[in-house]
Symmetry: C2
Subunit: 370 residues, 2 copies
């Protein structure tokens, strides 16, 4: 399973794995894909620096990437405290009332005051870029489309290609005009931020629109070798998988001392019908696991979600409280429709082997059908 | 391009083409696929009988199918006049006002009073089955899932396999338990009635759930040979295409004397973003071309759509008026996101040749990537 793009990156398979866990990212790279570390959770640049040093040391010299969250236009932004003031009391009251109704306990004193995920702020995301470029990332990806021009130029100066998510052809074209090297075509079924156009239509449409001007990674719905084969059949140069790594053995974020975390237990039990696309996570439409939390926000008495970055600031303490509460029915977790296929906790290497085997079988089947 | 299913039907390619036009259906069968005639538009059984006689004579002895619209449970239903009384005055007023605002003229006297599309009624759909079985259909498909048990039994007595649409695994399993032979896995991106799960996730999920108990046709998003390859890679036994035939040269329904109809002109100009999933066509969620008509129904002052079959009775005269008005900006037309790829009026045979060529190229690309 090789494409021009996998050869360019010097990786064994054109499988790009996005994950907020350095343990998962490193395992993906060691298994022959390209692990891409999500940086949005790092409020402190020094913590990211330490984690990337760990990545440097634990990837057997294989390449890895980083993923930031940065709009193309630098927004006017205040401090976290200023932004806090922009959140209506009605919204805070709704969040408090909902957590109460769901029986989610307050955070214990030793957790300290929740500061929100500052990685959504431009200044913090910008620091992620600088920290990352001091290491050896093989790719900088941006979850919000093109990063600002100066970030693209800086990455290129260091010889690092830039990837950007797109949910529609016109966005993909704009990214490439801005200097982006790789477009991640993110279909409707994907976890996290998504548009309305489903992968089967979106992937070949973006491939055709970009031609030779940029490589396309297929995102949204991929969790098997058959789906990798479908992506390459549709003209993509590789796949971008995010959700599927959340139920790997290496994924320990938010984990209890023993066994799978509440979020993992929720994911293992979910079917492909158990997701919802909503603005309640970040302020922009994102696909989430359907839980009592998302259901509460879809009731008639729920307020409209706030714009980015306010919505995430509003709900970040709620996310921490639900994570600490260990109740699989009340969690906030971005995940794609492929969650229906995530039914077992398994090591990354086992999943990679299965993807390769499934790909071969699919190509075999197509050859027989000729 | 051959699968077990295409061999079983004795067709050249596992491409099943749904269309309300007998001219298109016959052309699909002649070109090596299986043309499936949509019967819902035939209020008069004798008209359907005459059209199927025409199909018998114009398909070079090749197989064709028919598609009906029939819920598994026979609903209590009155006459069209009784049903008419169940439509609230508020809804009628909204439709009249909207057509007024869109500048859609009244029907001219010679068109006569609109009777609604009675094919949505069980008794009419049941007559379609009886009429069809007096001809030589190779397949009876039902757009609303399993047909009633007696219809399945009757078809099987005559040696005719039955296909049913499904948008989720549990529906697919139920269809097979009811005796359905082929499940049409209809992804979110499809035109007409759809569920929430996109093709990339839905198709392999239904394939896995059904195993050897039924063949799966992949529907939703297919308009190129690459997409056919993706469908077979994902484990489907063939594809079911509906939208893509609407812009063929053979499609003449609602056509002006010369050149493409207003609906075709609207389709040619639409991108993959120009569809919307809404209950306004039939009462159940269906993907439609986004036009001034669908936009009017999404405004805050619009009433909630009525349940099936009332909603279709409510809007059927509006559909006729818009069709006669010849304004591409105000039409009511089910179509999938693949509409973005429908940019030219072409003969069915040319599309078939392109599908086969695109399939071969995709398989070639996958072999090179191994």
């Amino acid at each position: 399973m090789q494409t021009g793009l996998s050869k360019k990156f010097g990786i064994e398979y054109p499988i790009f794995g996005f994950t907020p866990s350095e343990h998962v990212a490193a395992a993906i790279s060691r298994a022959g894909g390209l692990g891409v570390l999500g940086c949005v959770r790092f409020n402190d640049p020094e913590e990211l620096d330490a984690v990337l040093t760990w990545m440097d040391e634990n990837t057997d010299g294989k390449p890895y990437g980083v993923d930031i969250v940065m709009p193309a236009k630098v927004p006017t932004e205040g401090t976290a405290v200023d932004l806090d003031k922009l959140i209506p009391a009605e919204h805070r009251a709704f969040v408090d009332r909902t957590l109460d109704e769901l029986g989610v306990p307050l955070l214990s004193d030793d957790v300290g005051e929740a500061s929100g995920v500052l990685g959504w702020l431009h200044s913090v995301a910008r620091s992620h870029v600088d920290v990352a470029l001091a290491h050896r990332p093989a790719l900088i990806a941006n979850a919000l489309g093109s990063p600002p021009k100066d970030v693209i130029d800086l990455a290129h100066e260091k010889g690092v290609p830039v990837a950007a998510l797109a949910g529609a052809v016109e966005h993909a074209k704009r990214h490439v005009e801005n200097g982006v090297d790789i477009v991640i075509a993110q279909g409707y079924e994907a976890g996290g931020h998504t548009g309305e156009i489903a992968s089967m239509v979106l992937w070949p449409e973006i491939v055709d629109a970009l031609g030779d001007s940029a490589a396309v990674l297929a995102a949204g719905g991929v969790g098997s070798g058959r789906q990798v084969a479908a992506a390459l059949a549709l003209g993509a140069s590789g796949v971008w998988m995010g959700s599927y790594w959340l139920t790997t053995s290496e994924y320990k974020l938010g984990a209890a001392a023993h066994g799978p975390s509440s979020i993992q237990r929720a994911l293992l039990g979910a079917s492909s019908s158990d997701t919802v696309r909503s603005r309640i996570y970040s302020g922009k439409p994102a696909r989430l696991l359907k839980t009592k939390w998302t259901e509460a926000w879809s009731k008639p008495d729920a307020p409209e979600p706030l714009p980015m970055p306010l919505q995430n600031i509003l709900v970040s303490e709620a996310h921490q409280r639900m994570s600490a509460a260990d109740d699989p029915e009340a969690v906030a977790m971005p995940v794609g429709q492929v969650v229906g296929r995530m039914n077992e906790i398994r090591p990354v290497a086992e999943i990679m082997a299965e993807l390769v085997r499934g790909y071969d079988e699919a190509v075999e089947r197509l050859n027989e059908a000729r």
